[in-house]
Symmetry: C2
Subunit: 155 residues, 2 copies
């Protein structure tokens, strides 16, 4: 059974940065929206929506007005994806994006936001660990042949 120690070993620090970085090297980094869809797993709708609400910088356009994403856009989407996994509301991510746009004087504010998020993530992990224990207990009962846990309630 997996405990805190076990889960914690999944490297909270070094070495867990994905080895695959960018599909194309800097300089030739120009992706259509559908390439970004393939790379990020987001839908084109969502990418356009992110841009509309200010969660993406205004993306480069081809001479005919079509979006052309660059490597830095991919990196930003990666971070957004991570923040989304933490359950951070989109509105907060937009605030963060605005701070980045606003410049250097927002460093401490950004730091605060990330720290708060980090605390949330740690709390969330602890919650899940707790839930896991309950789940394991219940599963053991069910596996243990045919009698249900005492706490089953409905009807």
């Amino acid at each position: 059974m997996e405990t805190l120690a076990d889960a914690a070993d999944h490297g909270t620090d070094v070495c867990s940065v994905p080895p695959l970085r960018h599909p194309r090297p800097d300089g030739q980094d120009s992706y259509t929206i559908s390439e970004v869809v393939a790379f990020t797993g987001l839908t084109a709708h969502t990418l356009r929506w992110y841009e509309r609400i200010g969660l993406m910088p205004h993306v480069d356009r081809s001479h005919t007005g079509q979006r052309r994403y660059c490597n830095a856009d991919l990196d930003w989407l990666d971070l957004v994806g991570k923040l989304r996994l933490t359950g951070m509301p989109v509105a907060d991510m937009v605030r963060y994006a605005e701070m980045v746009r606003a410049g250097d004087h927002t460093y401490s504010e950004r730091y605060e936001l990330l720290e708060a998020t980090r605390r949330d993530v740690l709390a969330r992990i602890a919650e899940l660990q707790d839930t896991l224990a309950v789940l394991n207990r219940k599963i053991d009962f069910y596996a243990d042949a045919g009698h249900a846990p005492a706490s089953e309630r409905p009807r």
Copy 2:
């Protein structure tokens, strides 16, 4: 009538089961909706809604029709709360409740559902661990005085 306290001591994991079980002993377990609100942190609206959609068994009523919850109801709400933390959709929890109501022949189905949930939780924890690493890295950059991480994008 056996309770979670008993089940908890089968301890697949140490010490993470809350020591406070029921506000009142079995036999005098009769709670108004607002007591349950205080105990669970859910709103009265939500409690009534859970009942409407079949996520709660039909709760006992006083002679004038007001809800009177029992200890087993509290246990069930506790489990629901845990499952909710896993991100399980309410519809799935309703399916689970229906299976419990349906009787013993649903054991294996219930087992499957819990197992699948367990896998989800483990995956989710791994994701969060990964996110934590990214967060830590970014926070280090910010803490490391005034220069932003390379991947900052907006504007």
